[in-house]
Every structure is written in structure tokens, then in C-alpha cells.
């Protein structure tokens, strides 16, 4: 190869490799997770009370169980 072609090859790969790797990592991290935590978006659960404490339902359920366990 000519001197110019050798330089072009090295320069292209020095520039191209980080770009390809960056886009590859961006594509992999953009994947939706297989296991996703429960959505905190009120729009995802139309029946939910938007002003309610997210933990309130679970707490109330625990209280009800506790009450039922009472003799």
C-alpha cells in the first residue's frame, strides 16, 4: 500500500472503532429490562389513587391480615 493508504487505514479504524463500540453499548443499554420494577407512573394503573402513598396499600393489607389473625 502507499504511505497515504496506510495512514488512512489506521486513521479510519482509530476513529471508527470507538464510534462502533459506543453505539453497540448504547444499543445494549437501551434494551428494555426483562425484569422491570413495578411502575410508579400513575398512568400505568388508571384505578390507582394518584395522591395515595405507594406503600399505603401494602400497609393496609398487612393490617387487615393482622386483624383477621386476631382471636
Amino acid at each position: 500500500m502507499t504511505r497515504a493508504q496506510r495512514r488512512w487505514h489506521a486513521a479510519i479504524w482509530l476513529l471508527l472503532a470507538p464510534v462502533i463500540l459506543y453505539l453497540l453499548i448504547a444499543a445494549l443499554t437501551a434494551r428494555p429490562a426483562v425484569w422491570a420494577p413495578p411502575s410508579m407512573d400513575p398512568a400505568a394503573d388508571p384505578g390507582a389513587d394518584p395522591g395515595a402513598d405507594p406503600g399505603a396499600g401494602a400497609a393496609a393489607h398487612e393490617t387487615a391480615d393482622h386483624v383477621e389473625d386476631r382471636p
Binding site: 502507499t2 496506510r6 489506521a10 472503532a17 462502533i20 463500540l21 453505539l23 453497540l24 444499543a27
Partner: protein
Amino acid sequence: MSVGYVTVQWNRHKRVYDSLVGGGVALYLALFIIAGKTLYTGAHAISDEILAIRALGTCAYLMLHVVLCTGPLARLDRRFLPLLYNRRHLGVATFLVALAHATIAIGFYHGFGNVNPFISLLTSNVNLGSLSAFPFQLLGLAALLILFLMAATSHDFWLKNLGAPAWKRLHMVVYLAYALLVLHVALGILQTQRSPWLAGLVGAGVVIVAGLHVVAGLRERGHDRRGAQRTARVNGPWVDVGCVDDVPDRRGMTATVGGGERIALFRYDGCISATTNVCAHQGGPLGEGRIIDGCVTCPWHGWQYRPGDGQSPPPFTERIATHRVRVVGRRIQVDPTPLAPGTAVTPARIEEDHHG
């Protein structure tokens, strides 16, 4: 090299190589499909069409890696030169396997609607702003078109009519095709196949291809620098480039003078001749070649030139630049200004009575 154009330049070596490539592709496809049928059964079974799409796609992807790695590997180690000699056929085979992958994929995913499959391919997914839902098939289509351009111009007709520098620049577009294919895979199959091994293999492929090119480039630069340090200007235009004993008989040696192209030096029949190091065919390093049948023979594709005048032996018409050369004692001195391609230069005779 040939006088006229033929559809495919086959010789015994290329027939053996092509048979190995054809057999290797068939074996890979068979093993992939058998493994897919064996490993995924019941509710996880994969249809024949999808297995064929994946087998052909991964095969073409692997073949492209081999094509891209061949150049730097041949520069790093001479044992890979046979791969370089046959690279053109492997490149065309890669395109054909990729075409088969695309044909089945377009037919399977876009062929059963009431819209033309190509219209469906171009219009069914327009999520250009989303990475996870990006129309990755369009990236594959763009890469396939580039591979078609490469395969269609992989012929001496185009090499001759475009000229070696323009042809070489055109074929460097294959690097863009590779980048598009990495994204085609990353935004396609890797979005649903969660195996870290698969993602790791794709990343490793990029690192290997890019790493080999960079390492080969750095080695060439080091070679140029060391070569430039060995040379020393003597009187007039003459530059001392080494000792005649550094050049093996019937072989070549390269010398780097200033910022110019490398000069190839050849020792044969008690003489030294100097030509440019750049082969007129695809820029192969002539100085790493040998003298065969009295001609300088390029190590890449076997193109030949007479060392005394840089002309290919009849009936061939290719010509390369020559350099004036002389031997003073045991030292070789060359004039770094290249002469017009095909200019005859009297070879410098080595005074053998000084030897040993």
C-alpha cells in the same frame, strides 16, 4: 494477472480455496440448524425459516470478519498471504450468503401482507428516534447494498478502469458496511437475545478487527521510522540504504527515504535493482516479494515486473517506477527520486571479490 478479462479468474489454488470456503459454509449452516433443532424444542422450538435466517446471517457476519482481518494479518505475518491472495472470492461469497439471509428474511417478515415486501421493509417501522425499536433491517439493507457494490466491482475490469487508488478508496467503504452490520445485529437480534455471550462476541469482533488494523498500522509506522534512521544521505542525490548482504539472494528488501514511498531493492544474478515498493495492481509491498523467473513478484497477487525496467513481461503492459541505484564497496546507494514508470536502469553490479 491476465491479458484479457475473464468472468472469474480461477486457477488450481483458487479452486481448492473456493471448495474449502463452499464446504465450510455448508458445514456451518448444517451445524447451526442441527444445533438449533436440538437445543430448542417444544414450546421454545424455532421455525425452519428463522433458523435459516439466523444461520445465514451469522455465517455472513463471521465471513466479513475474516475478510476484514485478512489485510492486517497478512501485513503482520506472511503465513496469512494465501488468504489475501484469495480474499476477492471470499468477499463475493460473503455477499452471496448475506443476500440469501436478506432474501429469506424479507420474504418471511414482509412477504405475507398485501403490500410489496420492499415497500413493507421501508415503511413498516419508522421508529427512527428509538434505539430499542429502531428499524434495524434498514441498516442491514444499507450494508447489503454496499457489499453488492464491493462484489460487483471486485473484478480487474473495474480495477483497471477506475485505477488502483480510486478502486482501493471505493473498497474502503466496506468499513462503513461493517459498522452498519454491527448496529444491525445490536439493534436487531441482541434486543431480544439476552445472552451476554452473544453481546460479548459482537464486541470482541469489533475489538479484534479494529485492533488488528491499528496494530498493523503502528507496526508499519515503526518500520518506516527505523528504516529512515538507517538511511544516510551521501554525496549528491545518493542515499545510503544498507549493505548488499542485508538483501537475500532472489529476494527483496525495503528502504524508507524521507517522507516518500518505500523503495524496494532486489538482489539477483550478482546485481542490485531498485523499484518503487508499490505494486501497480493493488499497492502490494513488492519489496517483500521474490524474484521468480527473473521477475519481481508481488507477494499479494503474484503480479510480475522486470527488475531492470519495472515493466511486466510481455504480453502484460503494467509498469512501475524505478530508481537509480549503485553499489559502493558493499553499500547500496539509491537516488530517492523515482523515474517514470517503465524507465530502464542499469542494475548495480556487486563486487563479489569483496564478499566473505
